[in-house]
């Protein structure tokens, strides 16, 4: 079969975790029977986001950290499009952190994939918000002085209705999470534990493999926030990483909440506008009500 989703041969460093995400995502698209035209990849800046060059879909390659606002604009206007946001951990949790929180609470129907390799790969090796405190990275000449962020918990606390963590060492499951997330009505965050062999010596696939805990076996996905939070906290206390779909819930999406379930009406209705104009021009002041 011709690979309809391959635009060009991916070119990451050998051993880069990004390849697995590319594979898993391609498979998810194929298994969901999606057509390239109905998918929009909204990408930030960073190695992981290069995926827009390699995957054959529509793409809006934006600027650093602004994936979610741009993706929200796309989804509000045309919800028939499958909107997939792609960021690295720097793009999502450093410069883009605020948008994650606000997009989660709006519950915009976006599949947000964050490739978390614990480093700024593309700028060649500085610590990222998921780099563990006291790490020594290649291009930061001192021990890193910050506690890492907690993306899963931040998303949950902000009202995300689908929160998962994937692992590049397990492409099949990753693909399943992607599929579930794409089918989810609402905002989904999938933080994908990945690695950057070129610049992040602190995190290796072996180390990751040893530290992951599949949460299915612990009763996930939960619909109850408290259960999800407790589970994550417990697993993290043991120095482990939860992997799987942790939380899932159906709540009104932003398109539903702001009244554009079918998207924006792109045709222009001059009569309607004339009516509004007539009403507002003539009666603008008289209309204003004081109580």
């Amino acid at each position: 079969m011709i690979d309809i989703f391959e635009r060009s041969k991916p070119r990451w460093c050998p051993g880069c975790g990004d390849f697995s995400i590319y594979e898993a995502l391609k498979k998810a698209f194929l298994e969901l029977n999606l057509r390239p035209e109905e998918i929009v990849l909204v990408c930030g800046i960073g190695c992981a986001t290069f995926i827009w060059s390699y995957l054959n879909t529509n793409a809006l390659k934006g600027i650093h950290g602004r994936v979610l606002p741009a993706a929200t604009g796309v989804k509000l206007v045309n919800p028939r499009l499958k909107v997939i946001g792609i960021s690295g951990d720097g793009d999502a949790y450093s410069i883009g952190c605020s948008h994650l929180i606000h997009t989660a609470r709006r519950n915009v129907e976006i599949t947000y994939i964050v490739v978390d390799n614990g480093v700024f790969g593309n700028t060649r090796g500085q610590p990222s918000p998921t780099t563990p405190i006291y790490s020594h990275l290649k291009n930061y000449p001192r021990a890193w002085p910050e506690k890492p962020v907690n993306p899963l918990l931040l998303a949950l606390m902000s009202g995300a209705t689908f929160v998962a963590q994937g692992f590049v060492g397990d492409i099949d499951r990753l693909k399943e999470y992607f599929k579930e997330a794409i089918n989810h009505k609402g905002f989904s965050l999938i933080n994908v534990l990945s690695m950057c062999p070129t610049f992040n010596p602190v995190r290796t696939i072996r180390e990751l493999r040893e530290r992951i805990v599949y949460v299915e076996e612990l009763g996930a996905p939960f619909e109850n926030l408290k259960n999800a939070v407790e589970m994550i906290l417990s697993i993290q206390e043991d120095g482990k990483y939860p992997v799987g779909i942790i939380y899932r819930n159906r709540e009104p999406t932003y398109n539903e909440l702001v009244g554009v379930v079918k998207g924006v009406d792109l045709s222009i209705n001059h009569d309607r506008i004339a009516e509004i104009s007539e009403r507002e021009l003539r009666l603008r002041l008289l209309q204003k009500k004081y109580t």
């Binding site: 035209e37 909204v42 060059s53 600027i63 604009g73 605020s98 104009s277 603008r284």
Partner: protein, 560 residues
């Protein structure tokens, strides 16, 4: 021209805005033209504020050169009144407050006392009094109150108050101003109404914004109106989000806009560059306020010319427009959407605080019927490009999904298909292609006008709302036989070639603007003849020009 100018001074929280609205409506219902200006501080209650209402039988869009009736509601020190009061002016002050030492007729009236009696507030008593003085009928004012106030008890006390105020006026035995009232009401509105209406007319279907004075009114209107035409307006977390969301919406097919003021424009700079590079049309409205930084956030200034005309790192083509009349707040906002789509680039509309937030009579608005955005369809797939060369017309816009065609828009350098290219040659080609689009507008600027004597050797260049004050000043000067042309510069970027051509024989040029550093002067100076006498006419005290201020500058012998 028959006109009366009144002003109400006091403190925020005293209902001066409400009083203004009622009087403005009253005048409008009686067929008069109005134009207002409000000075107000950032604090919501207890700060010095005043409201100026100019009423005339002619179209007016500038402030008045005089105050006929000054009503002082609070215990305040009246500012910005020097030389505006004459012996014929009437100053109304509450009998309990200290009277100002102005050389005119001072009336100490029982505003507060009367308001207590009628269980309302002094502003309402003042409205009654002023209505009488203006010759507005009590029933007109009552009708307005009835439509404005829904709570019954509140309405009743207001009606009582207005009547009481009216009665005070009757008791003074003063004569009403003899204004040419009629029974054919006139439309009155704020600039923000026009910008929001024009957005609808221009086919805008998506708005995202973050509140900031003085732009917030535009968002408020669109949150209400856009859903009525199948669109949507959202309030988002910050300006970074706003501009990027608008870009996403436009990519997906909708004409889209955001509105902000200086600090927000500063934050949108990176997104504006993305719009330019990815060739995704957006409209960014910047309602200027006094800066730099937070500055005087509720004051009028034209200090964002610099930033708006240079709004990004790199070579990012953009269009910057500055409408100069209230009518143009409508027409040029519509233009902005058309130009954004035609040239696939950001269009920045540089607006004035004074026009956006105040009231103006508007008549004979030409409602635009532009066709909106035409979307590319799958049948065009074969010839379609995401980044075609500019064709001289508005191409069909490629929004996903298009059968057999993928829309790839990108912030990194790309070829015509949108695919990433890192070689220097593509960068050169695409940079030139992007810039090429600006040439047409250089040659055929939007809304170009030369007012007055086109063959004069004296010329005025003005920006935005300065135009109307300049025209009032020139009206007087021209009557003396002095010839001056006036170019209200409305397309700031790209600069019209006509500017240089038109001015090539000018010997004396006045550049009128409202900022401290002469940003308009800097912008145009390379287009002016070299050995010309140049005079920068600036005002930057947070308030719009009055005609006489410009008049004086134009009459001053010394120039240079």
């Amino acid at each position: 021209m028959k006109e009366v100018s009144l002003r109400i001074d006091g403190l925020t929280g005293q209902g001066i805005e409400f009083a203004t609205e009622v009087i403005v409506e009253g005048c409008s219902l009686r067929g008069l033209n109005v134009c207002t200006f409000r000075w107000f501080p950032t604090i919501v209650r207890g700060g010095y504020t005043y409201s100026e209402i100019r009423i005339s039988d002619r179209k007016i869009q500038a402030r008045s050169d005089k105050i006929d009736i000054l009503t002082i509601l609070g215990e305040v020190e009246v500012m910005d009144a020097d030389g505006l009061l004459s012996e014929n002016s009437i100053v109304v002050v509450d009998e309990e407050n200290s009277a100002p030492r102005f050389n005119c007729r001072i009336l100490k009236l029982p505003l507060k006392k009367t308001s207590l009696e009628s269980k309302t507030r002094p502003n309402i008593i003042a409205v009654g009094f002023i209505s009488g003085l203006l010759g507005l009928r009590l029933e007109t004012i009552s009708k307005i109150l009835e439509r404005k106030i829904s709570r019954k008890d509140l309405l009743e006390s207001n009606l009582r108050g207005v009547e009481a105020g009216y009665r005070i006026f009757m008791d003074t035995g003063l004569e009403s101003y003899n204004l040419p009232c009629s029974d054919s009401p006139k439309n009155v509105l704020q600039g923000s109404d026009l910008v929001a209406l024009a957005a609808l007319s221009g086919g805008c279907k998506f708005y995202a914004g973050y509140p900031i004075t003085p732009s917030t009114g535009i968002m408020e209107r669109l949150v209400k109106w856009l859903p009525e035409v199948g669109g949507v307006a959202v309030q988002v977390e910050d300006e970074l989000s706003a501009v990027n969301m608008v870009i996403g919406a436009s990519y997906a097919g909708a004409r889209a806009m955001t509105a902000t003021s200086g600090p927000g424009l500063s934050l949108m700079v990176e997104g504006i560059g993305l719009s330019s590079m990815a060739e995704i049309p957006i409209v960014v409205v910047d309602v200027q306020r006094a800066g730099p930084s937070t500055g005087l956030p509720t004051a009028h200034e034209q200090g964002d010319i610099d930033l708006a005309t240079h709004p990004s790192h790199g070579d990012a083509p953009r269009i910057v427009l500055a409408p100069s009349t209230i009518e143009e707040y409508y027409s040029m906002t519509v233009d902005a959407f058309e130009l954004a789509d035609r040239y696939r680039c950001p269009v920045i509309l540089l607006l004035d605080h004074a026009y956006v937030m105040n009231y103006f009579t508007l008549e004979g608005l030409q409602v635009s019927k532009v066709p909106g955005r035409r979307l590319a369809s799958g049948s065009e797939g074969a010839t379609l490009q995401v980044y075609p060369n500019y064709s001289g017309s508005i191409d069909a816009f490629p929004a996903p999904p298009i059968r057999g065609f993928l829309v790839v828009a990108s912030s990194v350098e790309h070829d015509v298909r949108g695919l990433s290219m890192q070689d220097g040659r593509t960068h050169v080609e695409m940079s030139l292609k992007r810039m090429e689009k600006m040439k047409e507008l250089e040659d055929q600027p939007i809304s170009w006008e030369v007012l007055g004597d086109v063959d004069a050797v004296e010329a005025v260049i003005s920006i935005g709302s300065c135009r109307c004050a300049v025209e009032e000043a020139l009206y007087k000067i021209r009557k003396t036989g002095r010839k001056i042309m006036h170019i209200p510069l409305k397309q700031l970027w790209p600069l019209p070639k006509k500017l240089e051509e038109t001015l090539k024989d000018a010997e004396r040029i006045y550049v009128v603007e409202q900022n401290a550093s002469g940003q308009l002067m800097n912008l145009v100076s390379s287009k002016l003849p070299k050995r010309v006498e140049l005079k920068s006419v600036k005002k930057f005290d947070g308030m719009p020009f009055r005609p006489r201020e410009i008049h004086q500058e134009l009459m001053d012998g010394g120039i240079g």
